[in-house]
């Protein structure tokens, strides 16, 4: 982050600003999604846009995720640059046919003649009893598909810069926002700037171990790194940012330097994106590892609604601290883990009161 910016924005505001900038500068950009013009404006990310650009550029839609994804694809093929939103990534499953069979493939199948430049924003739910069908983190599904790009910004700075780059990208981009990031504040420059797709970010330099993290887990990794640093452990945190195309070079280079790796992903562990990262490391750097690699992901089950159980499903900073300590042979008794890290609430922050 650039230190000389004096303006802080929330992640949700950064996204709204990126959309505004893209729409102001390119008439082919339009925004469509269930509830886009709603008073709550998709967690504040679309608030005010319909008033500014009118209902032909910022619009609601029928409950037809697959159909509208195809419609958005067709409009992109003939030159528009749509931004579609799913208020939960779980809803996007209805659109898998158009995403995977059509949008991801038209450019390649027709040998480069056709283009599908769209961005589909998807929100990962968590906490306040979201339950099994409103708290999935499905980036692994999309990252498996050639022809799609998959982006998961973890900071407001990256959210704005990556969204601008994604809208300008001539391919279908899946843009995944974890909802607990929306109120996170950060220095965000005014005006246009771009964060390139396909590049990971060194969120924190370190020398003892690399934590490779996606989305909200980057924040958990940074919290864990702070706690561990008090015991003299130097943790490097790599923010993956773009899952497809994956910046293998940055990830492998980090692991080559620290010689230890822990992966922290917001999705389920089995078959999750953590597997792709570990496979990459196994293929390209297993020879230099001092200790077996580890990964954290959601427990392999749909997340129950009651907070008594949902709290068991999400590994966080405390688990990272414990895991890294074990990998480094650090005595856990020397660590001081704050209570709110040991027992995090099931809401994004203490002021959150629901309903959703």
């Amino acid at each position: 982050m650039t230190p000389d910016i004096d303006r802080n924005l929330k992640y949700s505001e950064a996204i709204a600003e990126a959309i505004d900038i893209c729409m102001a500068s390119d008439p082919s950009v339009y925004l469509i999604g269930l509830g886009v013009p709603d008073p709550k404006g998709i967690f504040g990310t679309t608030r005010g846009l319909q008033e500014k650009y009118g209902p032909l550029r910022v619009m609601d839609m029928p409950a037809s995720e697959n159909g509208v994804t195809g419609i958005v694809t067709g409009s992109a093929l003939v030159g528009m640059r749509p931004i579609m939103t799913h208020q939960r990534i779980d809803f996007s499953l209805l659109a898998l046919e158009q995403m995977v069979n059509q949008a991801a493939k038209w450019h390649y199948m027709f040998l480069g003649q056709s283009r599908v430049p769209f961005v589909i924003r998807m929100v990962v739910g968590r906490g306040w009893g979201q339950g099994p069908q409103h708290s999935q983190s499905l980036q692994a599904l999309y990252a498996h598909i050639p022809g799609l790009k998959v982006v998961m910004p973890a900071t407001p700075f990256d959210a704005k810069g990556l969204l601008i780059s994604s809208v300008e990208d001539n391919n279908p981009v899946v843009f995944i926002e974890q909802r607990w990031l929306y109120d996170v504040e950060d220095a965000v420059p005014e005006g246009v700037y771009r964060v390139p797709l396909g590049e990971a970010r060194l969120a924190r330099e370190g020398s003892d171990i690399s934590i490779i993290a996606t989305s909200y887990m980057v924040l958990e990794a940074l919290r864990a790194a702070e706690i561990l640093s008090e015991s003299g452990v130097s943790v490097e945190v790599v923010d993956v940012r773009t899952l497809r195309p994956l910046d293998r070079e940055t990830i492998v280079n980090s692991v080559r330097r620290t010689r230890r790796v822990m992966v922290a992903d917001t999705g389920w562990k089995t078959g999750g994106f953590s597997a792709e990262i570990l496979a990459t490391i196994a293929e390209e750097a297993s020879d230099i590892l001092k200790v077996r690699p580890r990964r954290l992901g959601m427990l392999d089950c749909p997340v129950p609604t009651t907070p008594a159980l949902s709290k068991l499903c999400y590994p966080g900073a405390a688990d990272l601290v414990m895991g890294v300590s074990e990998m480094l042979g650090v005595d856990p008794a020397t660590l001081s883990v704050p209570e709110e890290v040991l027992n995090p609430p099931d809401v994004p922050h203490v002021n959150f009161v629901g309903p959703f």
């Binding site: 409009s75 390649y108 040998l111 056709s114 430049p117 790009k149 001539n170």
Partner: protein, 327 residues
């Protein structure tokens, strides 16, 4: 037949388009056993009037999308015969340089946006192209071809609903050939219900006509195109027709028993190409000599296209990873 009067030149043009499609499809039938066309082919023999009649109402700037059985739509919209033939042969000179084959045709210069084989999947894409026309204030029409099984897919209804909601310039052209592979209508859709009536429930102009009468097809589609272009919204047209050959491949398969030889013979008597030919001759619009020379001209073009395809190189043995993403 004969309810509408028509410019003789246009009538001849329609015959030419149908005969051309028929000749191409029959050429594929002839060469297929040579096993050099190594992809599934879904031929439209028997259904040519719909492609020919419908596409004749469109201009170059109008959009068409199709499905697995779209050789006729592709050719009638002005797609390159050489590029299509070479694509069937998997050659570098094909419209997708071999990556697509028969079921994935494209010709952007003539407005054929694409055909892909998942049933109903290009319906929302066609609607999306019309949505773009609306957003940009253009007067293009988007025409979407599909079979009757496509209305069983949810995405059909999602697409029609959206098109009606936004009054989009779309013409939905449904070729009801009674069978989805071997499955008759009776196991797929309730009996006492017509396809076009289902569509009508969405609130758009919805009509049914004889798909083997090219003049009727032309006029129905022309009305629908005019409605679309003037901002009056989409139309659904159900054209009843019949597929002569098997669902996929160059053979007749009436001996399999899923449909009767008798039923096939009834439909064969209503061959769209033969009907129109007879009508033109009977009314003196053309003579036998002109018809013979037309056929010869078409045959020459088709022979040349196949020779071109056969003599074209295969693509280099290398996956074009650079085309996974657009730059």
């Amino acid at each position: 037949m004969g309810r509408w009067s028509m410019n003789p030149e246009l009538e001849k043009q329609l015959f030419y388009q149908m005969l051309r499609i028929r000749t191409v499809e029959e050429a594929i039938v002839t060469v297929y056993p040579e096993q050099e066309i190594r992809c599934p082919v879904h031929l439209c023999i028997g259904q040519e009037a719909i492609a020919a009649g419908a596409c004749a109402t469109l201009g170059k700037d109008d959009y068409v999308v199709g499905g697995h059985r779209s050789h006729g739509h592709f050719l009638a919209k002005g797609g390159s015969l050489r590029a299509m033939t070479a694509e069937l042969y998997g050659r570098e000179t094909g419209c997708c340089r071999g990556t697509g084959g028969s079921m994935y045709l494209v010709d952007l210069a003539s407005g054929f946006l694409g055909a892909t084989p998942i049933v109903a999947s290009t319906i929302p894409i066609g609607v999306g192209s019309a949505f773009a026309s609306l957003l940009r204030g253009e007067h293009r029409v988007s025409m979407i071809f599909f079979g009757e099984a496509a209305i069983e897919e949810g995405v059909f209804h999602e697409s029609v609903n959206f098109a009606v909601l936004h009054k989009l310039p779309v013409v939905f052209v449904c070729e009801n050939n009674l069978y989805s592979v071997y499955s008759p209508m009776s196991v797929r859709q309730p009996d006492a219900r017509e396809v076009f009536e289902v569509a009508a429930g969405h609130g758009l102009e919805s009509r049914q006509a004889d798909g083997n009468d090219v003049v009727a097809v032309y006029h129905e589609v022309q009305d629908a195109v005019a409605r679309a272009r003037s901002g009056d919204g989409p139309t659904f047209l159900e054209f009843k027709t019949y597929r002569w050959l098997e669902h996929c491949g160059p053979n007749f398969d009436n001996d399999l028993g899923y449909r009767s030889q008798g039923e096939f013979q009834e439909w064969k008597k209503r061959c769209p190409v033969e009907r129109h030919r007879r009508s033109l001759l009977e009314r003196g619009v053309v003579g036998e000599t002109e018809l013979a020379s037309l056929l010869k001209e078409i045959q020459q073009e088709v022979d040349e296209a196949f020779a071109f395809a056969r003599s074209s190189p295969f693509p280099e043995a290398r996956i074009p990873f650079e085309h996974i993403y657009a730059q």
